[in-house]
Symmetry: C2
Subunit: 318 residues, 2 copies
């Protein structure tokens, strides 16, 4: 049996490490959503987490686990998304520098958000190769520790803490659904939930326009994401070396949804639950509302992670 | 000393009566909002109440207080706003009919919402006189009981239950702020909060474009609202015969804010707190962010009611 990058023990250690630094987010319900889903749905509101996304859990766990000598030289990452803000704030709270490499094409609002949390931004060309190369240069120059957005044991364990809270609040869930991009949230959620309740069923939620996890599961081997096309901008990346084995072996199935389903689910949550969620979070909601998921038997109560709420309010999405 | 339409006792009776029928809504905080307000701010999230507004408290209290004979013939009101939906659902939950008189100019989405909750809609001309006349006709025809949107002891007491919960969660508030239209929420909040904590300071929040409560307080006599002009469509009405004496005698001050301040506060709450609030709810937020309110001394912790989240998502408000 393979060893995985995280398990219930490391998630519990993470929970103890980050307690008091992250919000214990509420679990919300909606009679309307229950009716539409055909079962009881419990929403874990990570859009209400600090920095507006679950990413703050993994970043905080990784930053607080650094020993004093490593911490002194700071944390480094390359990201234009929620991990960048999360790492910047987690570092500031610990009182250490955060060096964030961002593509020069990133929206100014994201750069400003990172700098607002005290992050030191280095811009680079908008390619993965350039990002990795510049991040390596920053590490070499500063002696900082690279904390990647998902494919890291401490990051995966940190994301899993959301599952511990959800199952403490609603112990008799039959299944959980988490969106999957790089797989940090889904894999952390999976090892935590199944560690606590071995019989619980774990599903991934993915846009049809970035369905590398669904295709990898179907093929039984890792397939990279190429040319993703979806409004769910948190779910564009391929699975990682550490997240893929967990998803391969412990996740039952990945459900995919269309862009129209994502938009409709997003609007529904804003309108009926009064919660601002980002498109990536709507992907999980769209899955539980889909015919395929509704057809599952034996799932009376399902938990869904609303993974984030960071979205431009300069436009409508529908 | 005058007798008022509601007091701590009637609010406590209301709380016992509606327990289990209404949500105990969460109280949320935001470090960003705290920083901008210059003090600790606690948001009572009535936008997460059933039907999306605090109105469900008063409607439920009034409907459940009807004796069996009165209940059998149903409840009647005239409203195109949140009270209409609240009364429709409160009646359906009790299993009695709700007759809702709405102006024929009301948006179709509001008529559909009321009918979605099982309300029986009668359309009328869009004048207060026509609404009152048609409502009287419906009462005469059905034998139903008129439950007005704010100027009723059971409605005021029901709205006050939100203050009991807020002060149970945050007992050491120095002040509370509630938006004021007809005054049902503010007067109920006021008698409940001051009944529990006589020293607590109670403030009203009003759009400059519908500032009858501020002008009435300043003049020491009731002044009706004429030609209101504000996006805060829940705050257009004049104070009532029952709400005005409470506001006159027990509310310390009404603060007014501009349309730009309301829009900015609304966007801020959507963006930073990830909560969908309607313009009327943003009025209270705008007040705590205003220079006038920030200049108050001796207010370390303030509670603000986010009164509702029912807003069209077909447009942006900024």
């Amino acid at each position: 049996m393979p060893t995985y990058a995280a398990d219930l023990d490391t998630v519990r250690e993470a929970a103890a490490r980050i307690a008091g630094f992250v919000h214990r987010t509420p679990v919300m319900t909606s009679e309307t959503l229950d009716r539409l889903a055909g079962r009881h749905v419990f929403f874990k509101c990570e859009n209400l987490q600090k920095t507006g996304a679950f990413k703050y859990r993994g970043a905080t766990n990784a930053v607080r686990k650094l020993d004093a000598a490593s911490a002194a030289t700071g944390a480094v990452t390359h990201s234009s998304g929620n991990h960048a803000q999360a790492l910047a704030l987690a570092a500031r709270v610990r009182g250490i520098p955060a060096y964030i490499v961002m593509p020069r094409t990133a929206p100014l609002v994201k750069k400003n958000a990172v700098e607002g949390y005290g992050g030191i931004v280095t811009l680079c060309e908008p390619t993965l190769a350039a990002r990795e190369r510049v991040a390596a240069e920053v590490v070499a120059r500063t002696g900082g520790t690279l904390i990647p957005p998902f494919d890291h044991p401490d990051v995966i364990a940190g994301q899993g803490t959301a599952a511990l809270e959800l199952l403490e609040d609603v112990p008799d869930l039959d299944a959980v659904v988490a969106p999957v991009g790089g797989g940090g949230l889904l894999s952390g959620f999976c090892v935590a939930a199944r560690g606590l309740h071995p019989g619980i069923r774990v599903f991934g939620a993915e846009p049809l326009g970035a369905d590398d996890a669904a295709r990898s599961k179907a093929a039984g081997k890792w397939i990279p994401q190429t040319a993703p096309d979806t409004i769910a901008d948190g779910l564009l990346t391929s699975l990682g070396e550490l997240t893929w084995p967990i998803i391969r072996d412990q996740v039952e199935q990945i459900f995919t949804v269309t862009e129209d389903e994502i938009r409709a689910a997003m609007r529904l949550v804003w309108e009926r639950m009064k919660l601002v969620i980002e498109p990536s979070a709507a992907v999980g909601v769209a899955v539980v509302l889909s015919d395929g998921f509704r057809a599952l038997t034996g799932v009376r109560k399902v938990g869904v992670v609303l993974c984030g709420g960071n979205v431009s309010l300069d436009k409508l999405y529908w």
